[in-house]
């Protein structure tokens, strides 16, 4: 493989250890690609070329001495600009924090640094992660590498576009309504939203405290397992971080899904998707069936209320978090985010708590289904990435908002905190990627990664790259 940026994280790591490739050469290759291609998509918003090369040289020296830190040692990555990075501007994509330089790393940043990852720079995000398209940002919209007139998906749009365009080997993201999985699906890569509490959110600007998740965006499930490994685990800085042992995620990827029970929640998740996306998802599920999985239809009770509950929680918690800044420098927010923050003032406390009660109800409904099957599978999104600025879309004769449609299949699993992985499963007639979502029981990230990996061993959708 002559193009270094085509190597997976696992391949890069192996090449470093057998000395067929150096971390410095990899960092240089990625920096060259960023210089040549970043302007097309506006993914990286802060670049640290010299520091990244210094980190790569340090990794090279350490590995040569036998002080190998693990599979992320010397791997070039990017962080969503929602993650606070000590000494590096961290804006959350907002003019409100345009010149903010934190003094402390987010826990995930510190752990990935400790694991030896090389930080190339910071990645575009929808302002304060408050939107699914990444078209409202201090830095301007992030564009889709498959068609630059379309959105990248958000809020972790820079992460999705950069990984797809081979500007970094992997990236971090955050997910409150689907903000890891939407850009992963729109850009044709793999994204893991872990269980709520599996990974620390400390030092990541919040959108909604009760629904925020941190996780990786990568080209494959195997890479997601490797990048997520150090992010997972207890953290005294995050009250929601679970005191649970962390399994070896990559070690679970044995490819064996014989006898695995897969539930297909057809109502809501399939029957309101663009028909070709439903077809692609069912074809992907047929691949899993061919590997020995057993497939059955399931129905998740009360699912139709998910959008209402999520909306109430976004508006309430988002407005509460931004209240002080909004009162004094509200004019600095983009129009769309400012509108959401204003609307949050009108939500009654009883409705917020009602939405939180619904989450309990939905959690039980999903637990009932997951007592009968091991995982759920469905289209990741009901639509492909749409043109920037498009506000509505017609799907199966129903006109709806793009925001509402794009969130539909992802936000139920932020409400219930279940682990969810998206993997590419086709290319639509418009040339944009389509993806499958695999959802597991609480804290079974290893299970969904295993299914995603088995699919990727039997297909090649995850190896496709955007046209150049």
């Amino acid at each position: 493989m002559s193009d270094i940026t085509e190597h997976s994280i696992a391949q890069l790591s192996q090449a470093y250890r057998d000395k067929s490739l150096s971390p410095v050469a990899a960092a240089e290759a990625y920096l060259q690609r960023i210089a040549a291609h970043n302007d097309k998509v506006n993914a990286f918003v802060t670049l640290r070329a010299d520091d990244a090369l210094a980190e790569a040289r340090q990794a090279e020296t350490e590995i040569a001495k036998g002080a190998w830190r693990g599979p992320l040692h010397g791997i070039p990555i990017g962080h969503k600009d929602l993650y606070q990075t000590a000494g590096i501007r961290s804006t959350a994509g907002s003019k409100v924090l345009e010149n903010h330089v934190p003094t402390e790393d987010a826990t995930a940043v510190a752990r990935l640094k400790q694991a030896g990852a090389v930080l190339l720079g910071k990645l575009n995000t929808h302002e304060f992660a408050y939107g699914p398209t990444n078209d409202s940002s201090l830095f301007g919209p992030c564009r889709n590498p498959w068609d630059t007139k379309r959105f990248s998906g958000g809020s972790s749009g820079g992460s999705g576009a950069a990984v797809a365009l081979r500007l970094c080997a992997g990236a971090t993201g955050s997910d409150t309504g689907g903000s890891i999985r939407m850009p992963a699906a729109c850009c044709g890569i793999t994204g893991l939203k872990p269980t709520y509490g599996r990974a620390s959110r400390a030092g990541i600007y919040p959108l909604c405290w009760t629904m925020d998740h941190a996780g990786p965006l990568t080209r494959s499930a195997e890479d997601a397992a490797l990048l997520f490994q150090p992010m997972a685990g207890p953290d005294g800085r995050d009250a929601a971080a679970a005191e649970r042992p962390v399994p070896d995620f990559a070690g679970a990827l044995d490819g064996d899904i014989k006898g695995l029970k897969i539930g297909l929640p057809t109502p809501y998740f399939f029957d309101r998707a663009q028909p070709e996306i439903e077809t692609a998802a069912r074809a992907a599920i047929a691949v899993l069936e061919g590997l020995g999985a057993e497939v059955r239809e399931v129905d998740i009770a009360h699912i139709d209320y998910a959008a209402a509950a999520a909306m109430v929680i976004y508006l309430s918690e988002g407005t509460a978090y931004h209240d002080d800044r909004f009162a004094t420098i509200g004019e600095l927010y983009t129009d769309q985010v400012r509108l959401f923050l204003e609307l949050g003032n009108y939500i009654l406390a009883k409705d917020y708590l009602h939405a939180q009660r619904y989450r309990t109800l939905l959690g039980h409904a999903m637990a009932d289904v997951l007592a009968e099957v091991d995982v759920l599978a469905m289209p990741a999104l009901p639509l492909t990435a749409q043109p920037l600025g498009q506000e509505s879309i017609e799907i199966r004769g129903q006109t709806e908002s793009v925001f509402g449609a794009i969130l539909r299949n992802t936000e139920p699993f932020d409400l219930t905190g279940l682990p969810a992985l998206v993997v590419p499963c086709g290319i639509a007639a418009d040339g944009l990627p389509m993806s499958l979502q695999i959802v597991g029981r609480p804290f079974d990230e290893a299970g969904v990664l295993k299914v995603g990996h088995a699919f990727q061993q039997a297909s090649n959708w995850h190896t496709l790259r955007p046209p150049e």
Binding site: T210, A239, H302, Y305, A307, A308, A309, M311, V312, L315, F326, A327, G330, L339, E342, L343, N345, Y346, D351, L353, H354, A355, Q356, R357, Y358, R359, T360, L361, G363
Partner: protein, 71 residues
């Protein structure tokens, strides 16, 4: 089941100014009223769910610090 009247511009202006302390213009309140009426329709459906005995998914935990080793 609650019964409510449609949202008016005046109500939202008063809430924004008198409760939230973040006043809005007439033009903005009109925009908010249009959008928020649709949100209220979604909320009304949520209010209709039979969840009287369901606890909200927000659980209080006492703050503990290292060294707090009371029995």
């Amino acid at each position: 089941m609650t019964v409510r009247k449609p949202i008016t511009l005046q109500t939202l202006k008063a809430v924004a100014e008198e409760l939230a302390g973040q006043p809005v213009s007439d033009e903005k309140a009109a925009l908010h009223a249009e959008i928020f009426e649709n949100i209220m329709l979604m909320i009304e459906r949520l209010r209709g769910l039979p969840i009287k005995d369901v606890e909200p998914a927000v659980i209080f935990r006492p703050v503990e610090r290292p060294g707090d080793d009371s029995p």
